[in-house]
């Protein structure tokens, strides 16, 4: 019997995260990372933004985006270190670091989105 591994699940998360990040990250980064800081558009009013982020659908979408994007990063960065820097001999360390960060980040996202008043 073939050895069962987590790899297919991790690949699915990588793939789903790739789609989520491609669809949602550029526009959010343009708004909050470029347009608002550069003064191209006025910053959204605090009350409005609080209402938007606090909506259950937004919390769920943002949580999904954070979770999947972080696992997308973990998978891709792991292979960048394997192939790009030929660091496969320390794969256990790399896996622990990458997926550890992704799990901690996902937990932080859940906590912060739960905390929104």
């Amino acid at each position: 019997m073939a050895k069962r591994t987590l790899e297919p699940v991790l690949w699915m998360l990588f793939s789903a995260g790739g789609v989520a990040a491609a669809l949602l990250v550029p526009v959010l980064l343009v708004i909050f990372g470029l347009a608002v800081p550069l003064g191209l558009v006025s910053a959204p009013d605090h009350g409005h933004l609080l209402a938007v982020i606090g909506h259950p659908v937004s919390r769920l979408v943002l949580f999904g985006l954070c979770w999947l994007s972080l696992f997308h990063w973990a998978h891709r960065f792991r292979y960048t270190l394997y192939d790009g820097l030929q660091m496969k001999q320390v794969h256990e360390l790399i896996n622990t670091f990458c997926y550890g960060c992704a799990i901690l980040g996902t937990a932080a996202a859940a906590y912060l989105l739960w905390q929104v008043p």
Binding site: A22, L23, G33, C66, L70, F77, T80, G105
Partner: protein, 143 residues
Amino acid sequence: MTERSAAERSVYSPYHPRWYRPRMSTYWWLKRWAYVLFILRELSSVFVAWFVVYLLLLVRAVSQGEGSYQEFLDWSSGAGVLVLNVVSFAFVVLHAVTWFKAAPQAMVVRIGGQRVAPALVAAAHYAAWAAASALLTWVVLGG
């Protein structure tokens, strides 16, 4: 001597053939533009992860109140953060474009036994991208 297997003997032989494993430079990916692009595409994930951190800092600031939100806005318009976000934007767009380019190859869509043209699958992804961007812009800035 005659009792020992060939495999056992080979362990001690000074003439054991060496494996042919040419050493590859750590910078192998600098040799061709296609390889550089591959590494840049893989590195885009680092900027995706940075964006998650940035987004969560924004969420935290907004949750904590108007003062924290204002502090976040001041911090985000500082030169260092701004430069990082400009670079991140370039990488995130590289990710999106290369992802949508690969999508028709990864996804074979069939409708009524006929394969949907790859160009159409790619076009659907770009349409979804435009729709998602328009919707989020409207929700965040308009609404």
